[in-house]
Symmetry: C2
Subunit: 154 residues, 2 copies
Amino acid sequence: MTDPTGDFDLQDFLPYLLNQAAEATSRGFQAAYRDRYGFTRTQWRVLANLGKFGAMTARDICAISHIEKTKVSRAVAALEQAGMLARAPSPTDGRAELLSLTDRGRAVFADLGGLALAFDRQLRAMLGEGDAGQLVALLRRLAEAAPPGEAAGD
Amino acid sequence: MTDPTGDFDLQDFLPYLLNQAAEATSRGFQAAYRDRYGFTRTQWRVLANLGKFGAMTARDICAISHIEKTKVSRAVAALEQAGMLARAPSPTDGRAELLSLTDRGRAVFADLGGLALAFDRQLRAMLGEGDAGQLVALLRRLAEAAPPGEAAGD
DNA sequence: CTTGTATAGTTGCTAATGCAACCAAGTCAA
DNA sequence: TTGACTTGGTTGCATTAGCAACTATACAAG
């Protein structure tokens, strides 16, 4: 209690610890989508959301995944170029576009989804099921309690 | 169990959840170092480590904080330029430099350290002390179990 | 119907990252 | 001492993120 600033230790700082853990685990899976398909993290996430939820607009993706507009926009462009995603004009809104995966996109999602599932199971096994569940619950609380404004950086 | 890929939900994927929580909390504190001092996250971390542990080499910082060489290098240059950090040739190794905070650097660390401490307490209070402790333990396990190779991206 | 404002999505510019290549100083062995 | 190899640190280049400005459509009020 002598020097208040001396009390601060980065190694105990929650945002720091969260970043370290996020980095470490994300890196592990990055190899899957990067080496196999040349994806960026955002591209993988957009693909994953479309794969899970089916056709929707870019705006929906933003809302669901808290990824920034521009990142989604560019990821969509890249996925489209790679022939994994198709755009269709929204029947109800002339501005919006309905995004959906092509057959190829779905195949890729099946592949990566399988790997992701396996990877996730490994992580959870490492922690133990009970602890893993706890962790998920805590992370959800943090994420929603400290909402990333409009968007979340990556 | 019908379609294995249909089982995968990004919203339950640990790396994703970790990133979301990390983003959300990091963003919250980013305002402190960015708006007040124009720091980048790496600069803040380097400053924090030097503030906590005193003089050391860039290599030490890398080892302690798992930040990449080049990021540390650039952060050090920026902090030096801002007059918050000084380099001294290492007495024992001609390649290395001993890095330390200047008075100004220490003052800034005192300021940000105080804010960080307060911010962290808020987060922990939000979770409850017990849960916060659990979370820290789990994050440490994840970070060390999935070591980011040599370096951690940011 | 036209004027004002909000929203979907894209683009441009700058800053920050990641990786590999690069110096310079140390180490170790003959 | 010389020569092969490691290690601390920096730099260059290509990629990505972040923010603000922009286009085009939608909606709402007069």
